[in-house]
């Protein structure tokens, strides 16, 4: 068309970014890639093609890693790790800083390569993915610098196996590699098979930065290679991807003593109240669900609109959708690019086709003839019971329903197995700060969406996984407390015979929902001491676990009490225990046949006081994120925690777990020391007299082996801990895969209960939720 005609039509026209430099880089590498192991690229082997999803063209041929190659990568990382850790934080910071600088210097090359490989619009790779990846390395260069001074008790985990998805290839690499290296770990990383090219360019960057060989290893291939890494001799697995695969990794790593963080799927709620800036909320949806073709784990894919504005909102939204420009991802004037692969495109098509409910609107944009494209789609009028309201589509498809009240908005938002992110739009600060803490999610955005930064932790709850990436909270995923653990020997209950020591029979029952309860099975066992029969305890079974969890879940109000109130109750427990210290000491000595009872009681009182002290002081943080606004890292209780308490310390083991957990607002189901259960059953009398609300603490006695599985597999339990001398770690972690509950198991090692580990317990008893609040008038 002539300029004169264009003057009339005022079309946008093509505005392509050149792919020449990126294609030239691929040619320089021979269009074939091996792995990056021990500081060098291996010779290319048998493998697969990496294609541009926008055109179907082959970009390069990649190598499918063999077992021997994965082993070589892990061995290289293992060999390099001690020296890398010994380099010190300041030494490592220089390398991280150099990587950040190089990412910046080659930013356009990375951006274009990412777009060619993944199909996302060049605007996104150029303005979001690559700058955020740089930011992650800059930020963690600082964390390396500060490690010795700020985390003096932390040490690296060792070798980290890292498996990342295809939706943000370089950014997910940065999220995984930067904190791991900063804390002195070495890594074996597998990029997704669809999108490995920027990881290979990153390997090139590592060489340029002079990163010591073996510190960063990159192996390519499909899920089979991921399985090899999971099965290999690593100290940690970090995975971002689907919930289904995350669950398999949880099962595969169960009981191996590996650290594990999982960042999985989501069906994040996007809540719009009737007082919101509607146009801005609609623009937010463009960034929520049409960002990266909706292939975003935290995409605001579930729209909840207040009923009174729903019609107007939806019609404005449909108009906005029709203005979206879809096409060649390298075009600088494109909003929506290509879906990553034909397989993913078919999944989206199948899911939308299977839906028969509601009204479907698809943006009126022309689809290119070739390539993996799917139009922006809105489905209104769905109900919570419709599959598309529950299942993650991972495409540019928004589903919508309405709500009447703030309470109903929260109820609908939380009516999901996932818990990754949520968005709230309202101009009312009271409403925003009332709703944000109630949403079950790791990240909440107020009047914004999909804001990310290295300084703010990202990660989910429920089946969206566990662990945080970014911020101070993210460092916990790549460090552990210094110190060695001793192996733990199983403690068998004492046996004996003869008459009871106490002529009057006292029956120890279970303690469930603030009441003493007989065990469902109707069985008891004797507890013997050196001096004779000390009493009987009930043998709890799975139904008692069910009842205890029911009671704990019912005591949710405890989480809403103030830290001050919880402190008062913990002090009161300590006070009442102190009043009966002598009796408890005797009891412990009688059961264990040792003389440490008095000391254990005193330590228990101290733990209660320490937890009371922390109850109103274990504060969150305000992260300095680069916006005009704040990210509030709020600490929230995990929920219902099930714990198998230490056998060797019948009172202290129980109190050390219970006190910090309830101080943070959790409710607990505690399985008492199996051989020495009577301290726990005496203890519930103390609880009864200390104003502890019913259901906050529930105590079961019986076989740890029997209780472990129902507790670990219970879908309404949010975390399970085991300090039992029975080695149940594998069984617990495997069973925990059901709802991906957090686990803390001892892997047959002992914790020194004489030492105050309260900080570790507080950390395990809380989830960090980052609430982003941009502001400005």
């Amino acid at each position: 068309m002539s300029i004169k005609e264009l003057f009339e039509t005022m079309e946008y026209g093509p505005a392509p970014e050149s792919a020449a430099e990126a294609l030239a880089w691929l040619v320089d590498q021979g269009d074939r890639f091996g792995h990056f192991i021990d500081g060098a690229f291996t010779a290319p082997g048998d493998g697969f093609d990496s294609r541009n999803p926008a055109t179907g063209e082959v970009l390069a041929t990649l190598t499918q890693a063999t077992q021997a190659e994965v082993d070589a990568a892990v061995a290289a990382a293992r060999k390099a790790q001690p020296k890398w850790a010994a380099l010190g934080g300041a030494g490592r910071a220089r390398y991280l800083y150099a990587i950040a600088r190089l990412l910046q210097k080659h930013s356009r090359l990375f951006a274009v390569l990412e777009t060619l490989d993944n199909g996302k619009p060049i605007r996104e790779s150029r303005d979001i993915d690559i700058p955020l990846a740089q930011r992650h390395f800059y930020y963690h260069a600082g964390m390396a610098q500060l490690m010795e001074s700020e985390l003096p008790d932390a040490e690296p985990l060792g070798v980290c196996g890292q498996i990342i998805p295809w939706n943000f290839p370089l950014l997910m690499l940065a999220w995984k590699v930067a904190p791991a290296l900063a804390m002195g770990n070495t890594v074996v990383l597998k990029p997704a098979e669809y999108t490995s090219l920027t990881a290979l360019l990153f390997a090139d960057i590592c060489q340029q930065a002079g990163v010591p060989k073996g510190v960063v290893n990159i192996v390519t291939g499909d899920g089979a290679v991921g399985e090899m890494i999971v099965a290999s001799d690593v100290d940690k697995i970090a995975f971002t991807g689907s919930t289904a695969v995350g669950r398999r990794i949880r099962e595969a790593t169960a009981g191996r003593g590996l650290e594990l963080t999982l960042e999985l799927g989501g069906k994040s709620a996007y809540i719009v109240f009737d007082d919101a800036d509607i146009d801005s909320a609609i623009e937010g949806l463009v960034d929520a669900i049409w960002f990266n073709q909706g292939q975003v784990c935290c995409a605001g894919s579930r729209l909840l609109v207040q009923e009174g504005i729903a019609d107007r909102f939806h019609s404005k939204l449909r108009a906005r959708m029709d203005g979206l420009r879809l096409g060649n991802p390298l075009d600088k004037c494109i909003d929506v690019g290509a879906v990553v692969d034909p397989v993913q495109l078919q999944t989206i098509e199948r899911m939308v086709a299977s839906n028969t409910a509601g009204t479907v609107h698809q943006a009126s944009c022309a689809l290119p003839e070739n390539g993996c494209y799917y139009p922006p789609t809105l489905i209104t009028g769905l109900s919570t019971s419709d599959p598309l309201m529950q299942e993650e589509i991972f495409g540019p498809v928004l589903v919508s329903t309405t709500f009447r009240t703030p309470a109903e908005a929260v109820e609908l938002a939380n009516n999901t197995r996932y818990g990754l992110a949520a968005t709230v739009w309202t101009e009312n600060v009271n409403l925003a700060f009332d709703i944000a803490p109630k949403l079950v999610a790791g990240v909440v955005w107020v009047n914004a969406t999909n804001l990310f930064d290295a300084a703010a932790g990202f990660g989910g709850v429920r089946e969206s996984g566990f662990g945080r990436e970014g911020g101070w909270e993210g460092l916990a995923a790549y460090t552990r407390p210094k110190g060695k653990c001793k192996a733990l020997a199983r403690i068998e209950p004492a046996t004996g015979q003869g008459a009871p020591v106490d002529p009057i029979d006292r029956t120890a029952k279970l303690y469930v929902g603030g009441k003493q309860a007989r065990p469902d099975g109707g069985y008891s066992r004797p507890v013997w001491g050196k001096s004779g029969l000390l009493g009987h305890v009930g043998l709890a079974n799975r139904k008692d676990v069910r009842n205890a969890v029911e009671a704990a879940a019912g005591a949710a109000g405890w989480a809403k009490t103030t830290g001050h109130l919880r402190a008062q109750i913990l002090y009161y427990i300590g006070e009442n225990l102190s009043a009966r210290a002598e009796e408890f000491a005797h009891r412990i000595d009688a059961m264990t046949g040792k003389r440490g009872g008095a000391q254990e009681v005193e330590a228990s009182i101290q733990r209660l006081f320490t937890a009371a002290a922390w109850a109103d002081k274990y504060d969150g943080q305000v992260h300095g994120v680069p916006i005009r606004g704040v990210a509030l890292a709020m600490k929230e209780p995990v929920g219902v925690i099930g714990a198998l308490c230490a056998d060797e310390a019948p009172l202290l083991g129980l109190v050390s777990v219970m006190a910090p957990a309830i101080a943070m607002g959790n409710r607990v189901v505690l399985a008492a020391s199996e051989p020495y259960p009577l301290a726990a059953t005496d203890f519930y009398q103390i609880l009864d007299t200390s104003d502890v609300p019913a259901g906050v603490v529930n105590i079961l006695t019986g076989s740890h082996g029997e209780l472990a599985k129902p507790l670990a597999s219970h879908l309404n339990v949010d975390a399970v801990w085991s300090f039992s001398s029975t080695d149940l770690s594998a069984e617990i972690e495997r069973a925990a895969a059901g709802n991906l509950k957090r686990t803390w198991v001892n892997n047959a090692t002992s914790l020194d209960w004489g030492v105050d580990h309260s900080k570790r317990f507080l950390q395990a008893a809380t989830e960090i939720k980052n609430i982003w609040v941009p502001y400005g008038e």
Partner: protein, 329 residues
């Protein structure tokens, strides 16, 4: 007369837009309007990265931008000679050779904008071109002269031949939330304009918040404004993208609710060709192509034209241009 109207149709849209008659003041609507500053700023900040116009398309867009300029001089030292020169530039904003090279016929700017005393000169200088003369009015720029004089000023300017009147609103009505007073004032100004089109200058840099900008925009449209305009050019902050986004979203809502299209004029601070392209894409994306015509969109600008001319010459020659190669206005 016949030739004149023919010439006009060459560069004005074929569709005759019915004038916005205004409506009753709807305070429920006004008070329900929200504007979230951070979100609006984010949208405004990412827009230039989301839209890009290249090559011939860019040249066409820049030519379009010229036809949307209210070529303006609002200085205390304006003289007849100065205004005549400006009008000559408005008639022929781009050198004919350059237009030929671009394959484009003759174009003019959207209007010429002057103070009242210069209307006669401008009307005379533009006779036969179809280019309307716009006059700033109502005690421009502060709008604090006696109300009856402000109304009278409009009448004088219309009588002098101004086809468009750029009025300034009383900022104090917005700052105190006296929407009724703002409505009444605007309605009186509109009435005084008669057949002349009225642009309501909100002086957004003095309204304190984007929410106020949104509400003032709506009230002025309810009172019958044909255009809403950001600034006088005399405030410390003039047209910005966030302010523009708020005002054009108000225009969209008003159109959705009433069916009447109101025009938009950002003024002050738009001096680069690239800025003009961003504004055009903002209008195109938020309001649609209909708002890319001079009856619904104007740039209030004086130095913008020079930059566009340089970019157009660059388009033709491939070499970056120099300011002195293009006639000053």
């Amino acid at each position: 007369m016949e030739t004149q109207s023919l010439e006009r149709t060459a560069h004005l849209p074929q569709v005759t837009e019915p004038r916005n008659p205004g409506m009753e003041l709807d305070l429920d609507w006004v008070r329900a309007v929200q504007a979230n500053t951070s979100a609006i700023e984010r949208r405004a900040a990412t827009l230039p990265g989301r839209r890009s116009v290249k090559r011939d398309y860019q040249a066409a867009w820049l030519l379009k931008a010229i036809t949307l300029i209210d070529l303006t001089t609002l200085s205390g030292d304006d003289t007849v000679g100065r205004v005549r020169r400006l009008c000559a530039k408005a008639r022929q904003p781009v050198a004919p050779a350059l237009l030929d090279a671009l394959g484009m016929g003759p174009i003019t700017t959207g209007a010429v904008c002057v103070y009242h005393d210069m209307i006669e000169t401008a009307v005379e200088a533009l006779e036969g071109t179809g280019i309307p003369v716009a006059a700033v009015s109502t005690g421009f720029p502060a709008g604090l002269s006696p109300f009856h004089l402000r109304v009278a000023e409009i009448g004088e300017s219309v009588a002098a031949g101004a086809e468009e009147i750029d009025i300034v609103i009383s900022r104090r009505h917005v700052l105190t939330g006296d929407w009724q007073a703002l409505y009444d004032e605007m309605k009186a100004f509109r009435a005084a304009c008669g057949h002349a089109h009225v642009k309501a200058i909100l002086a957004t840099g003095e309204l304190g918040s984007l929410r106020n900008v949104a509400r003032a925009s709506l009230v002025c449209m309810m009172a019958g404004a044909d255009f809403i305009k950001t600034s006088t050019g005399k405030e410390s902050v003039n047209a910005t993208l966030p302010v523009s986004l708020v005002m054009i979203r108000a225009i969209r809502d008003y159109y959705d609710r009433t069916g009447y299209r109101v025009g938009y004029k950002p003024a002050g601070g738009i001096s680069k060709a690239k800025d003009a392209l961003v504004y055009l894409s903002l209008m195109k994306d938020e309001l649609g192509d209909r708002w890319l015509q001079p009856d619904l969109f104007r740039f209030g600008a004086s130095s913008l034209l020079g930059d566009i001319e340089r970019q157009l010459e660059h388009h033709v020659t491939g070499a970056y241009s120099a300011g002195y190669r293009h006639a000053v206005g």
